[in-house]
């Protein structure tokens, strides 16, 4: 099966949905709503200016209609005699089964799936051969962190935090920082579990009720984590908004990029996950505006310097000064 396959076309999915929704009859307006939610903005789909609605609701010439619905007493039903209560079954494709089998090989999946679920899926897929295998991949430019010593605690913490997130409840916990300082009985609202592709670690983003600010913690350094029923003045969505608003830079970092030695491509790839605007100044010169989170500023500065002499910060001056300071210090190290 090709990854780019017609059965995954959104209109295939839309027809699938319409047929199943019509099992017990659906009024025209209800079908139009499903179509409206799922189709492209451009309505014309057929050669003779037909819309998808025309084709589904049999408004075209006989051989131009899908003919998969039939109208009876003001409602539409699947046009097939003897359909079951669920006219179309839901089944995974070969590619999806291959991906699910690869999922079972990931360490972290055991933190989410119970033993029963894991074993059931493993049994169902035991004879299925998947080309998605870790041995065919190698990740580079990653960060190799020391092994987590107590994986049992890590897994337990992960489960409790995930549960708290789903129930939208605060947690109480102890945390030990990298210098060995213990912070006891802290209260926080979990905002999300964050996965880093570079170091393969899960961390928890929270809003600390004690410190009244967003914080990030390693899941494995937490202990005695429990979901609590305490009243806190903030919910998860508000905490999220605070993170987005308070931590977002007011002014962007403006870069000038000269396209030498693939600097442009490297630069744009490096910053592809950030909100940005770009324009071409002349043949080989580009300007990019990067909007960023303040907690990420140090990483961003290091990334900019790492791109070398063809990427220059235009503003803010504060960042220019910091880069110049570091570069001067580097030159001094060779003197």
């Amino acid at each position: 099966m090709e990854l780019f396959n017609e059965v995954k076309n959104r209109y295939f999915q839309l027809v699938f949905k319409i047929i199943n929704e019509c099992a017990n009859g659906k009024a025209k307006d209800e079908i139009l709503k499903i179509i409206d939610d799922g189709e492209f903005e451009q309505k014309v789909i057929g050669k003779n200016n037909q819309t998808f609605e025309d084709i589904v609701l049999n408004k075209c010439k006989k051989d131009e209609n899908l003919g998969l619905l039939i109208e009876k007493e003001g409602a539409f039903y699947p046009s097939f005699e003897g359909t079951k209560e669920l006219p179309l079954p839901v089944r995974f494709t070969v590619i999806e089964k291959a991906w699910l089998k690869a999922l079972l090989k990931k360490d972290g999946v055991r933190m989410i799936l119970s033993n029963e679920t894991f074993e059931k899926l493993q049994k169902e897929l035991e004879d299925f051969d998947t080309p998605i295998r870790d041995e065919y991949f190698e990740m580079t430019n990653k960060i190799e962190l020391p092994e987590i010593s107590d994986r049992e605690v890590y897994h337990k913490n992960f489960k409790i935090i995930m549960d708290a997130l789903l129930k939208e409840k605060p947690i109480r916990y102890n945390n030990t920082d990298k210098n060995g300082n213990l912070y006891s009985n802290k209260l926080a609202v979990p905002v999300s579990i964050e996965y880093s592709m570079r170091d393969g670690r899960f961390r928890v983003s929270m809003y600390s009720i004690d410190d009244k600010r967003p914080i990030m913690a390693n899941i494995f350094t937490l202990s005695d984590v429990k979901i609590v029923d305490e009243d806190v003045e903030i919910d998860r969505q508000t905490a999220k908004n605070i993170l987005f608003e308070q931590k977002y830079s007011e002014e962007p970092i403006v870069l000038e990029v000269i396209d030498k030695k693939n600097a442009m491509e490297r630069c744009f790839m490096c910053f592809s996950g950030m909100e940005r605007s770009a324009r071409q100044i002349n043949k080989d010169k580009y300007e990019i505006q990067l909007y960023y989170y303040l907690f990420d500023e140090e990483n961003l500065i290091r990334n900019i310097i790492s791109l070398g002499p063809y990427v220059k910060v235009i503003s803010p001056q504060r960042v220019v000064d910091e880069i110049v300071r570091r570069v001067k210090k580097s030159i001094k190290m060779y003197e």
Binding site: Q13, Q42, G67, L68, E138, G308, I323
Partner: protein, 429 residues
């Protein structure tokens, strides 16, 4: 059907990359960069605007020019919107009708049926006219739906294939277990390549919950990602073909885009595909393969147009040592040239303030196989072996002010010149 659908994903790969990664080209700029007609650029841009949700599309203005820009913020958006571009393959009206009629019929009978039975059954039970659809077409569709897609299975009775709806692998799962699975799929859909397959799996699982379980789907929005690039998805059709070749030990030929002339192609020698390397920092995928003469060939996936699977097979084990020899000291994609030895590099890390000790930890964690030695308090030496020291220059530059090269004369000189050029670019002589 529908001019906005496409037969081949390659039609939009180039322009999608240009809009998403760069977002700085006007239509005119795009025409020049891609060396294609303005009509083609207009078609492709219009398609992308259809495929991608409005919230990710931004039009910047540069004088009189409009610049199409696809952008997102990793904290706010964890769903890779480029996946939508994989849901656009063109199809014929007969193909979609046959697909659903076969499923409707086999689901209603609930037993294995031969081609003949299916053909008669759908003619009798549907209100459709099958004058234009031949038995051969129905047979081809059945083969596609069973062998290629896996939506049907078949058993052979008296040398005739009897088709039925594929087994439901989730039949023995409770609703709670299916919800657990949805959670795991939601998390890993951005992590396991091909990412597109993860999103498809999530979509099917949600349909399953909705229709087979008749339960409401709860939106799982509790995961966020760092350093997860969205753009590698654009290369996943090629990645999938490569994985099939690696897995089946099939040799391949690859058709590459020409760098200077995007409309030109060149075909590679016969290759044994061995491994895919993913540069996490830049979001680049590479294929590491070997020629029949054991020469190591590294190919960027964004420069591969298509992969041709050959009948000839290879033995994977033959290349284990070769791969190690060529790539063990590569930081990203540079292989070791024949007859060369890896370069020795020695770095000095200076940490003046104890509060900056984390910098040393970070450097050690980022340097694969680096050997660290503490010389004095706050002074450390790190020995590395690398295929090509040019590959580690960006990494060293990132630690400006903390690291200097003490072994690797050319590397040290290169870095010093870079620093001076950087100061010069800021107007400091």
């Amino acid at each position: 059907m529908y001019s906005d659908f496409i037969k081949n994903y390659n039609i939009i790969r180039g322009i999608l990359r240009d809009c998403f990664l760069y977002g700085c080209f006007s239509r005119d700029g795009m025409e020049k960069k891609r060396n294609v007609s303005s009509r083609k650029v207009s078609y492709e841009i219009r398609r992308i605007q259809q495929y991608v949700e409005d919230k990710y599309i931004k039009f910047d203005k540069d004088g009189r020019y409009k610049l199409l820009n696809l952008t997102y913020d990793f904290m706010r958006h964890s769903d890779n919107f480029l996946i939508n571009t994989y849901m656009t393959k063109s199809f014929t009206i007969n193909s979609i009708i046959l697909h659903f009629v076969i499923l409707l019929y086999l689901n209603s009978t609930g037993k294995p049926c031969s081609l003949n039975t299916i053909e008669n059954g759908i003619a009798q039970n549907s209100h459709l006219s099958f004058d234009k659809i031949s038995s051969k077409t129905i047979e081809r569709k059945l083969i596609e739906m069973s062998e290629e897609l896996g939506l049907l299975s078949y058993q052979v009775i008296k040398r005739t294939k009897h088709y039925y709806i594929a087994n439901d692998i989730l039949m023995k799962f409770t609703y709670g277990e299916i919800k657990e699975l949805l959670m795991a799929v939601s998390l890993y859909k951005n992590i396991i390549f091909p990412i597109t397959a993860g999103y498809f799996t999530k979509q099917t699982l949600e349909s399953y919950i909705n229709y087979e379980q008749k339960m409401r789907i709860e939106n799982v929005d509790i995961f966020n990602y760092r350093q997860v690039h969205f753009h590698p998805v654009i290369e996943e059709q090629v990645l999938w073909d490569i994985l099939i070749a690696i897995h089946n030990r099939r040799k391949i030929k690859i058709n590459r885009f020409s760098l200077k002339h995007p409309n030109n192609r060149c075909v590679s020698n016969i290759l044994s595909p061995f491994k895919v390397r993913y540069d996490v920092r830049h979001g680049r995928l590479y294929l590491i393969s070997f020629t029949n003469n054991n020469k190591c060939v590294v190919s960027r996936l964004d420069r591969i147009e298509s992969v041709e699977l050959l009948e000839e097979v290879f033995t994977r084990e033959d290349f284990n040592e070769e791969y190690q020899r060529h790539m063990c000291c590569s930081w990203s994609s540079v292989s070791l040239d024949e007859g060369n030895e890896p370069e020795d590099v020695k770095l000095e890390v200076i940490i003046n303030d104890e509060s900056e000790n984390y910098i040393l930890d970070r450097i050690i964690n980022e340097a694969p196989n680096g050997i660290v030695e503490m010389v004095n308090k706050g002074q450390y030496h790190i020995k590395l072996k690398v295929n090509d020291s040019n590959e580690i220059i960006p990494w060293i530059r990132g630690y400006a002010g903390y690291v200097r090269v003490i072994e690797g004369k050319e590397l040290a000189q290169h870095l010093l010149e870079d620093w001076k050029e950087m100061l010069l670019s800021y107007g400091i002589v």
